[in-house]
Symmetry: C2
Subunit: 289 residues, 2 copies
């Protein structure tokens, strides 16, 4: 089985590397070709174009930033579709619009190729350690064909429903994450303003009903004034924009998500976009507290 | 050592029962005296008045609903202060205003008695099972005198700082809890509106960065349309009112907490006050989704 991988960013390169290390034949492509070099040094073939990548591969994985990027990779001039046909499978790991995903899948299916949306959760660490959660939308039989390769990149591979369902579950995930980040930010900021011992507060509140992954993982970074990115504010803002569009289409009325969407956009506008999501406390005045 | 306990509500009666079962001599008091009967049947003495309770006890525990209730128990006509004096200790387990707590503590200290604020987290289950987290503000030496009795009621007993600090940490805890409840509510509601399999969504998002105590504990109740109270909406609203007053005094600017305060107040106004906090989804339109 020949594999192709389009998108050698932080996530894509780590995921493609895990496919290589599992012994698979992998061709890679990136818009900026130089980013393929580390993978080439580890044994990947480098495709000169997306049509070539699609022609060489039975399964093409995509991991790029946003909805227009997936659209360009698939359907742009010199896009994957020029090399896609019956028997081939496209697996999109990007986090993009569920509605656009359904349209993309239909266009790919019309060429005789299969399509799965398969956004991931777990960040750079999860990508490197192959411990990602992979949320899959599409036909269960296609997922079973692809599962051995997904298992080289992630630990939990969950079939969520028909095409677009992986993106929908990812949107739900990001809505919850964003509000839990805000919870951690406001709680820690209030503790700081109250003059409390932050280590003690963090230990106490983490032990009970206020516990969350975000409190456990981001709280200590806030206390240490460590704003290096695990997951960047600008990407959380993008994911909230995608969720907000879905929410709007369903009638709106999720006030907490509307608030976090506005706050993460404000954080980007304030120049905090490259900080980790714990940097949301900086928008709220952490260093004036 | 003679113990007194004022307030035989859900929490107070369970906590006093654990003191009795640990072999301590306990006198109890409640505004509605009939609520003392179950404890009397298990061996507690019933005090005819708060001054009598204070005179009979070396340590008086209080567990009532709100700031004015604690004020009335301490300083009202026929209040505890009429029986307090040197060598006695007051321990307030209620969740009330940190600022009022400091004032109450000063007035009690002026009589020669010691004062600890010691709000609890863990709900009715924690009170029954003696697994409460107890957040203590006041002198460390006084806490050490009281610790053996607190250990009969809770599992984690944490000294948070001077008088008022227990209430401050509790306010931080409730700010985080409220936003995590909103996160769970909006995430599950979005999943329902999207037509996703709620069991699958809950399992997937609980396994990663969206994980929280609230998602694990309240998500399944939402799916089951079980709105019976673990912790009532009206009490969460009261705790947010207390936190909001502290935040306001510190300059404001916590938009997520302001939003949850407004939403929990709206839920009470909508008649949802006696539901568990998972009932916040009902304010957002759970059964129209």
């Amino acid at each position: 089985m020949q594999l192709g991988f389009a998108g050698m960013g932080i996530m894509g390169s780590a995921m493609a590397r895990n496919l290589l290390r599992a012994g698979h034949a992998v061709s890679v492509w990136n818009r900026t070709a130089s980013k393929c070099e580390p993978l080439a040094a580890e044994g990947a073939a480098v495709a000169a174009s997306l049509p070539e990548l699609a022609r060489a591969a039975d399964i093409v994985f995509i991991c790029v930033a946003d909805t227009p990027d997936v659209e360009a990779v698939l359907f742009g001039p010199q896009g994957l579709v020029e090399g896609l046909g019956p028997g081939k499978i496209v697996v999109d790991h990007s986090t993009i619009s569920p509605e656009a995903t359904v349209a993309f899948a239909e266009r790919v299916n019309a060429l005789g190729a299969a399509y799965l949306d398969a956004p991931v959760s777990g960040g750079e660490t999860g990508a490197i350690n192959a411990t990602l959660t992979i949320m899959v939308g599409g036909e269960a039989a296609v997922l079973e064909q692809v599962r051995p390769y997904l298992a080289a990149m992630g630990r939990s591979i969950v079939h969520c429903g028909p095409q677009g369902s992986g993106q929908k579950v990812k949107a739900v995930n990001q809505v919850i994450c964003a509000l839990n980040i805000l919870a951690t930010s406001e709680g820690m900021l209030l503790a700081k303003r109250m003059g409390l011992d932050l280590e003690v507060v963090h230990r106490v509140v983490s032990s009970g009903a206020a516990a969350s992954w975000m409190l456990s993982n981001l709280g200590p970074k806030m206390i240490a004034n460590d704003f290096a990115p695990g997951f960047m504010i600008k990407l959380q803002a993008k994911d909230l924009r995608i969720a907000a569009a879905s929410i709007e289409a369903l009638g709106g009325g999720l006030p907490g998500t509307a608030l976090t969407h506005r706050l993460f956009d404000e954080a980007v506008a304030a120049g905090l976009g490259e900080q980790g999501t714990q940097g949301l406390v900086n928008l709220l005045g952490w260093n004036e507290a």
